[in-house]
C-alpha cells in the first residue's frame, strides 16, 4: 500500500527515485489506522471502512472495534453500549434483551452488571501487560457519517498482529498497537 501510494505521489517528476523513497518512508511512518491520502477503493481492502492499513483491530466484545468518544465499547451495527461480555446494557450497566428490556433473574432483580472497560486504555494493558493510550486520529466518511479512526498507541515495537508496529497517529515515540473507531453523527 505505502509503495503504491508513494509511487503515485512521485509520478512524473525528474527525481522520481528519490521522491519515491522519501514519500514511501513518510507514509510508512504515518500509516497506522488511516493514511494521509487514499481513495475509497483503498479503504475497502481492509476489515472496516476507513481503515486503510493492515494493523488489526483492538479486541472488542462484539467483534468490530466500535467505541464511544471515551473508548468504551459499542455494538457496531446499532451503536448500543455493550459490557465486556458483549451484552447490550442500559445506562446503569444492567444487561438488556434485544428489545431493550432489562433481563431479570428468578428473584425478578435485574441481572447483575458485568465490568465495562475501555478497549484501549484498560483492555490492552490488562491483556498484554503494557500501558496504552489514544494519541491522534483521522476522520473519514463511512456509511454517510463522519468516522473517527483511532490508533491505540504504546511504547511497543510489535503490533497486535505480531509484526513490526508503525508510527501512525501515535506521538512521543509510541507506535500503533491496534485500531478502533468512533462513529460521529455528522453527515457527510
Amino acid at each position: 500500500m505505502a509503495k503504491r501510494l508513494s509511487d503515485a505521489l512521485a509520478g512524473g517528476t525528474s527525481r522520481r527515485g528519490f521522491l519515491a523513497r522519501t514519500s514511501g518512508w513518510l507514509l510508512a511512518t504515518t500509516s497506522g489506522a488511516a493514511a494521509l491520502a487514499a481513495g475509497e477503493e483503498d479503504a475497502e481492502a481492509y476489515h472496516f471502512c476507513g481503515h486503510i492499513y493492515t494493523t488489526a483491530s483492538c479486541p472488542h466484545p462484539t467483534g468490530i472495534p466500535r467505541v464511544d468518544m471515551h473508548g468504551y465499547p459499542l455494538r457496531a451495527r446499532d451503536g448500543k453500549p455493550v459490557d465486556d461480555l458483549g451484552r447490550p446494557i442500559d445506562r446503569s450497566g444492567h444487561p438488556l434483551d434485544e428489545q431493550g428490556h432489562r433481563l431479570t433473574d428468578p428473584d425478578g432483580r435485574p441481572l447483575p452488571r458485568a465490568p465495562r472497560t475501555r478497549i484501549c486504555q484498560d483492555g490492552i494493558p490488562d491483556r498484554y501487560g503494557f500501558p496504552t493510550q489514544i494519541d491522534g486520529s483521522w476522520y473519514r466518511c463511512c456509511g454517510g457519517k463522519v468516522r473517527r479512526l483511532m490508533d491505540c498507541c504504546a511504547y511497543h515495537r510489535t503490533r497486535i498482529n505480531g509484526d513490526t508496529a508503525l508510527t501512525g497517529y501515535c506521538y512521543g515515540g509510541r507506535r500503533v498497537f491496534c485500531v478502533m473507531y468512533f462513529q460521529t453523527q455528522v453527515p457527510c
Partner: protein, 511 residues
C-alpha cells in the same frame, strides 16, 4: 465414581497394557525378576515387582497425561469434527485388532539389557517399569496403544490422560506381578503358554478390538472424547442449589416452595429462599429469615431482614444479601448460635459492600469462610473472607470478563468465569488458586458480529475472534452454584425479559 466412558476407557487401556506382556521386554522382565529368586530371596523379588509396577504406572501416567495436556493446549475435547475423526480412527483400529493386522508403526527397541546386570534388581526393574509404562519406547504389541495415544491427545483432558496412563501401567504390571513371584511354578507355565499358544495373544487382541469399538460407541453417544462426566439434570424447575451431607436444597423458580432432596425422599416447604450448610437450614419468607437445626427442627435464629434476596448458612454463620442504599449490594453476617435474649438483628454486621458500590452475587459459606463475587464497572473479583478473623483476600480477579457465583467446599472454590466468547464453570483449590479446571463450558449469551464490516476483508479482525472450538451462542446463563466434595451443581438460567418469565434448571457435574 467413573462414568461409563471412563470405565470402558480404563478397561481398554488395561487390556492394551496386558497385551504388552507378549513383547520381548515383557517376557524379559518376568524372567529377570522370577529367575533371580534363588539368589536374592523372596523379599527382593517382591520389592522388584513393586518397583516395576510403580514404574509402569508412572510411565503410563507421564505419557498419556502429557499427550492430553498437549491436546488441551490445542483446545481438544468437545469439538464435533474432532470427535468424528477420533471415532473413525478408533473404528479402523478396532477393525485392525479384530482382523489381527500387523502392528504398524512398530517400535523395534528394547529396554537396556545391561541394567539387570549393573543395577540393584529393584532399581533396574523400577526403571524397566518406567520405560515399559511409557508405551512407545519399546515394542508395541497392539494397535490399541496408538489409538489410546490419539484419544488422550484429542481429549484435551489431563484427567482422561491420567486414567488411560494408569490403566495402561496397571495392565503392564499385572502379568509381572502374577508370574514373577511364582516363576518356578505358575510363572513358567504361563510363560510357556504365552510363548507356544498364539491363540492367547489373538484372543487378547480381539478383546482389545472389541473394547476400542465400545470406546468409539461411547464417544458417539457422549459427543465428547473426554472421559469427564457429563452434566446430569437434577431439577427441571429449580435454582439456587445448596448441599450439606446427602441433602440437596433448591428453590422453585416461581418461589412457590423450597425443595429438599435426600436420596429418594423429597420434601417441600414454603420459602422464597433456602440454603443449607453444616447442621443448619436457613429460609426466607418475605422479610423474615429463619435458621433451624436440620435434625431437631429447633429454631436457632429468626430476624427481620428487609430486601434480603440470597442466603448462605454454615454451622457458625448466617449470611444474606440485601440492597445497599444508593445502589449496589451488601452482605450481612450473623454468628450462630445467638443467645435467646439477644436480638438477632442487633448482632448482625455488614461484611461486604460497605464501602464500594458493587454488584454482589449469592454468598457461599464453608465453616467460617465466606466467598462472594463483587463486580464493579472496572473489574470483577471473588473474595474469600474469614468471618472469625475478619481477614479477607481477593482470591481471583479479572478485567474484561466476569467472575461470579462462587461456592466453597473442602478446600475448593467453584465459580463461573464469563467472557465475550464463553461461560465456564470452573473449580480451583483455594490454597493455590492455580490451574483451575473447567467442568462445563457453554457459549456466550452475547450476539457477536462478524468482526469485519460487510463487504470488507477479514484481515485484521483476528484479535476479536473467539478460538476455534468455542461453543455457539446461547440464551442460557451459568447461574448459582453449589459444591459438595467432587460434585458441582450449577443452575442453567434463561433470564426473564419483556413479558418472558425466567426459567431455570439445575445440573450436576462430577469431577
Amino acid at each position: 465414581m467413573l462414568s461409563a466412558t471412563a470405565t470402558i476407557l480404563l478397561a481398554t487401556a488395561f487390556a492394551a497394557g496386558v497385551t504388552g506382556a507378549w513383547s520381548p521386554c515383557g517376557f524379559s522382565v518376568v524372567e529377570t525378576i522370577g529367575s533371580r529368586r534363588a539368589q536374592v530371596g523372596g523379599r527382593t523379588v517382591a520389592a522388584s515387582c513393586a518397583t516395576f509396577a510403580l514404574g509402569a504406572l508412572t510411565g503410563g501416567a507421564v505419557t498419556f497425561t502429557s499427550l492430553a495436556a498437549i491436546g488441551m493446549l490445542a483446545a481438544g475435547g468437545r469439538d464435533a469434527t474432532l470427535v468424528a475423526v477420533v471415532v473413525v480412527i478408533l473404528a479402523l483400529t478396532a477393525l485392525g485388532e479384530l482382523l489381527g493386522m500387523r502392528v504398524f508403526p512398530q517400535i523395534r527397541r528394547q529396554v537396556p539389557e545391561p541394567w539387570r546386570r549393573t543395577l540393584a534388581l529393584p532399581l533396574a526393574t523400577g526403571l524397566y517399569g518406567v520405560l515399559l509404562g511409557f508405551g512407545f519406547t519399546t515394542y508395541v504389541l497392539t494397535l490399541a496403544v496408538w489409538a489410546l495415544a490419539g484419544i488422550a491427545l484429542a481429549s484435551g483432558s489431563p484427567v482422561t490422560g491420567l486414567l488411560i496412563g494408569l490403566g495402561f501401567g496397571a495392565g503392564r504390571a499385572l502379568p509381572v506381578a502374577l508370574m514373577a513371584p511364582r516363576y518356578a511354578t505358575l510363572g513358567r507355565r504361563l510363560e510357556l503358554a504365552m510363548a507356544e499358544r498364539p491363540v492367547l495373544l489373538r484372543r487378547l487382541r480381539l478383546a482389545d478390538g472389541a473394547l476400542l469399538a465400545a470406546v468409539a460407541v461411547a464417544f458417539v453417544a457422549s459427543g465428547s472424547t473426554s472421559a469427564a462426566q457429563r452434566p446430569q439434570l437434577v431439577a427441571t424447575d429449580g435454582t439456587d442449589p445448596s448441599r450439606a451431607g446427602s441433602l440437596l436444597a433448591y428453590e422453585r423458580v416461581d418461589h412457590s416452595a423450597a425443595v429438599l432432596v435426600d436420596g429418594d425422599a423429597i420434601a417441600q416447604r414454603p420459602a422464597d429462599n433456602v440454603a443449607i450448610g453444616g447442621r443448619h437450614i436457613a429460609t426466607r419468607v418475605g422479610t423474615t429469615l429463619t435458621v433451624q437445626d436440620r435434625q431437631s427442627g429447633a429454631t436457632v435464629a429468626q430476624l427481620d431482614a428487609p430486601n434480603a434476596t440470597q442466603l448462605a448458612v454454615s454451622d457458625r454463620w448466617l449470611v444474606w444479601r440485601a440492597d445497599r442504599p444508593g445502589g449496589g449490594d451488601r452482605l450481612w453476617a450473623l454468628p450462630l448460635p445467638i443467645a435467646q435474649a439477644m436480638p438477632a438483628a442487633g448482632v448482625a454486621r455488614v461484611v461486604a459492600g460497605a464501602k464500594r458500590r458493587a454488584a454482589i452475587d449469592r454468598p457461599a459459606l464453608s465453616g467460617d469462610h465466606l466467598a462472594y463475587a463483587a463486580t464493579t464497572r472496572g473489574s470483577s473479583a471473588i473474595v474469600i473472607a474469614n468471618l472469625a478473623t475478619q481477614q479477607r483476600r481477593r482470591a481471583l480477579a479479572t478485567r474484561g470478563g466476569q467472575l461470579s457465583q462462587p461456592a466453597l467446599d473442602g478446600g475448593r472454590l467453584l465459580y463461573v468465569q464469563s467472557s465475550f466468547c464463553s461461560q465456564r464453570l470452573r473449580v480451583v483449590r483455594t490454597r493455590t488458586l492455580r490451574n483451575p479446571r473447567t467442568l462445563l463450558r457453554i457459549g456466550s449469551s452475547a450476539r457477536r458480529d462478524e468482526a469485519h464490516e460487510h463487504g470488507y476483508s477479514t484481515q485484521g479482525s483476528e484479535p476479536s475472534r473467539c478460538p476455534s472450538g468455542t461453543p455457539g451462542r446461547t440464551d442460557v446463563l451459568l447461574w448459582t452454584t453449589a459444591l459438595a466434595g467432587r460434585v458441582a451443581y450449577v443452575t442453567l438460567l434463561r433470564p426473564g425479559g419483556a413479558g418472558a418469565v425466567p426459567s431455570a434448571r439445575i445440573v450436576r457435574v462430577g469431577f
